[in-house]
Amino acid sequence: VPAAPVAPLGCDDPESEAAAYAAVNYINSHSHHGYKFALNRIENIRVLPQGPNNNIIFLEVDLLETRCPVLSPTPLENCTVRSFTEHAVEGDCDIKLQKLDGKITVLATKCHSHADSSEDVVQLCPDCPLLTSLNNTEVTTAVTAALSAHNSKATDAYLRLLEIGRAKIQYEPVHVVYVEFAVAATNCSAEEAKENVEACQLLPDDQSNFGFCTASMITRPKEDLQVDCQLYGHQVPTPNTPFFPEYSNLLI
């Protein structure tokens, strides 16, 4: 006797939400760059019965970027979703999952992200800074200046750049470059680095200490640089904050 047809699941049914949250946790814990994403909407769900208590689920979800970098130990539920006027970034994901005896497993994910259109942001907020390319020279200049300024004042470990996460430029009323970048502590103090910075390497995996910096650099009418760096402290890799080995020898 063919398996009884599965009643179609609604996108807001508890079972759909459970699958979506499992998918979002999987995506965040396997993402190696940028920021954590939060669930915004379940676009569609399809269930293919495979047998008793065994379903394959195809899910389409809309995500929104949060302010938490992927390396941050902050739980996703405490990560603020970037607002529309911060120039939001949306993620579209197709996910294949299996629900077997009540346990949900992610089998495959395919995602792509895109920033909201600048026109939309300007329409709502004419003076809001807009996202710009990460290899824009003003951006790399601001990151280099900010990291150098932090290291020159630091009393603890000398920090090295891991990746630039986000950059925005505001043109009016003053010209401001806003940057966010991931950093890691090295085996040097800031003092030692002044002697021989080449000797400063990222800490080994069992002592890794990642962090995050935000900075703003005003170039006109006068120079002004603000930088704030926070280190997370050593984190034991967990399913939510896996350690990414490629960072251990990554120096941008």
């Binding site: 179609p8 699941l9 609604g10 996108c11 807001d12 759909s16 939060a38 669930l39 915004n40 909407r41 379940i42 676009e43 569609n44 769900i45 929104l64 979703v81 529309f84 939001a88 949306e90 909201d116 939309d120």
Partner: protein, 35 residues
């Protein structure tokens, strides 16, 4: 002789009282805002 009969226009079967067509199941609710 085989004669093709015009099929009488079937009248819509009225839904039994109390039947609610399934609400739009997807897409689901928006939790933050729509880009």
């Amino acid at each position: 002789p085989v004669v093709k009969r015009a099929v009488a226009q079937h009248d819509k079967v009225p839904h039994p009282v109390g039947f609610v067509s399934p609400p739009l199941l997807c897409p689901g609710r928006i939790r933050h805002f729509k880009i």
